[in-house]
Symmetry: C2
Subunit: 353 residues, 2 copies
């Protein structure tokens, strides 16, 4: 498989055709599963994990869902290639450390993927565009069932699915949405909101999941609790709260437009002007300006830009994406130069359409 | 006379058709003169200054050079109108304080003007585009001669022309050039240069003369000494040193382009992007961005923009210009909004040509 190909063919979930796709970047569900009678990865020896991987890969290859997929040996990837997969939300921070017994399987639309021998033997993931956690759940549930036909999962009738970390035990399900909340950030309301969310049993994280900080006003909101509720209950609960956050973001956008229209026009206008004319740009600045651009387009303060392009740019400007695209590692200054060039070209192209 | 008309018809010296006009914004000479047998303004009573003004206005009206001129009573202007004339380099900080006995006469191309009852009875000024102090001197010399036909100047065969402040005594001549020196500022060489200049008997000031600071990398360089040299000697001396400064600025631009081309492209690109897309902008930011724009155009890092427009914009964004253009005083936020609008419109218009 060729990572360079992936750069120019964004995952289907980036098409921005889901409900509320301008504010809800993506809906994602992952399931944690382990093989019965095999020690869980954190305590298992390498040889055991190898046979786990063998077993799982065999089952995965049988499932219709992974007929058209990349099979990637994490141990054979360079750090840059792993960074690329992390940026793409296909692997976790943990997987990014590498490891011989670890495998990633990605169906080519990138809607469906799985990691073998992460913290658990199997981590299954689906990502959809916009706010459609229920649909995301329906798919992953089917895939899970299909795999289960050939795998014996570690399951307790009392506890449900058993996992390496007790926080995942039960459903093994984490449902999350990536939200773009610039108005709540600009108005300073975001911290209050994130506190409220945690009281409701949800947790907010940065762009690349656990332990990462928010970039470009993107926040990942997910369930904390995996036990004592059915999967549809968890999914509906997250969806309901995300919908409320979306409403708050929308209301705040209206208030900002009403009270500070010129300031908003100025912020998004400058962002557009800089993105289309800069010749050097670091990742952080790019993310912040792309956030303003996205906001400006959504509020009709800027010329129309396709949601798919707004989504794609968030990935194209990431450091590993830039380097994989060029086919080599690059010093930060050269990355900054290429990042600015990509932004200028893509946005100028778009404005000519 | 209507100041609003002046906003939309920039002075001829702003056309940018003089030699070295991209770096040497303007060449300016002023002569200080006083009437024989009249107390000099700082010590004179109002009634005396009124008869001085009467005498001088009569002589001025006879001179062919002021046939097509605005005659302006400073005492009748609002503070905003005086600010406007200051921004336009037609009056001094001193004149901006107002005063009943004070008059400004401006020939309509704004190449030639005079102030009556500033620090001296008469301050005569000519401004040309680019580096052409000799031509500037030739004109003001003729005008001075023409006026002298009908005025008895205070003149001592030992000291030359007598003035209120001894620093002007002798020739009463101040020759200055307004220079755009962004590369010397960016490279940090400017302070060293300004020190050297002062050793050569010249002085560097900000955009609006004595006591003002540099804005937009513009520096006014003029002679300190008015005594003991002939007028052509003073003029040639300033011109020679200014030419050397221009050469240094050019060399530094070449060095920056060679060593930091991408950074330069980035700086001027961002400036252009912000100027063409912002919706709020204060004067200081506008001046700094216009400075980068001017540099970028001169170095062919940006699309061609007429020098006349680059010059005009430096005036159009000034606070009093914006308000006179609108026909009313405006709070800073509204000025910032209009300033951004003017910049967007003028530059977008230019890019379509």
């Amino acid at each position: 498989m060729n990572l360079k190909e992936m750069v120019s063919s964004p995952g289907y979930w980036l098409r921005g055709d889901g409900p509320e796709a301008m504010i809800v970047f993506s809906s994602r569900i992952r399931l944690a599963r382990n093989l019965k009678e095999f020690v869980f990865p954190p305590w298992a020896q390498s040889s055991l994990l190898k046979s786990v991987a063998e077993k799982l890969l065999k089952a995965v290859k049988k499932a219709v869902y992974f007929k058209n997929a990349y099979y990637i040996e994490i141990g054979k990837l360079s750090p840059l290639e792993r960074d690329f997969l992390l940026e793409r939300h296909l692997i976790s921070q943990e997987f990014n450390k590498g490891g011989e017994e670890r495998f990633l399987v990605v169906e080519k639309k990138e809607i469906l993927s799985l990691m073998i021998n992460e913290e658990d033997h199997l981590r299954l993931q689906t990502i959809f565009s916009g706010l459609q956690l229920r649909e995301t759940w329906d798919l992953i549930n089917k895939v899970d069932d299909a795999l289960e036909e050939n795998i014996d999962y570690a399951f307790s009738s009392q506890w449900g699915y058993l996992t390496a970390c007790p926080t995942n035990t039960g459903t093994g399900l984490r449902a999350s949405c990536m939200l773009h909340l610039p108005a709540l950030v600009i108005s300073g309301k975001i911290n209050e909101l994130l506190k409220e969310i945690s009281k409701l049993g949800l947790v907010a994280r940065g762009l690349y999941g656990e332990g990462t900080e928010a970039q470009g006003d993107f926040f990942q909101i997910s369930n904390q609790v995996t036990l004592g509720l059915t999967e549809p209950q968890i999914v509906d609960n997250v969806e309901r709260i995300v919908r409320e956050v979306v409403n708050q973001e929308r209301r705040m956008r209206e208030i900002l437009l009403k009270r500070n229209r010129v300031q908003m026009e100025d912020e998004v206008g400058r962002a557009y002007g800089i993105l289309t004319h800069a010749h050097l740009m670091n990742t952080r600045t790019a993310m912040n300006l792309l956030s303003r651009l996205r906001l400006g387009v959504d509020l009709n303060l800027l010329p129309k830009i396709e949601t798919a392009l707004l989504n794609e740019l968030l990935f194209l400007v990431a450091p590993a994406h830039i380097q994989i695209r060029e086919g080599k590692t690059l010093a930060p200054l050269f990355r900054d130069e290429l990042r600015a060039k990509i932004l200028r070209e893509k946005l100028n192209e778009s404005s000519k359409r």
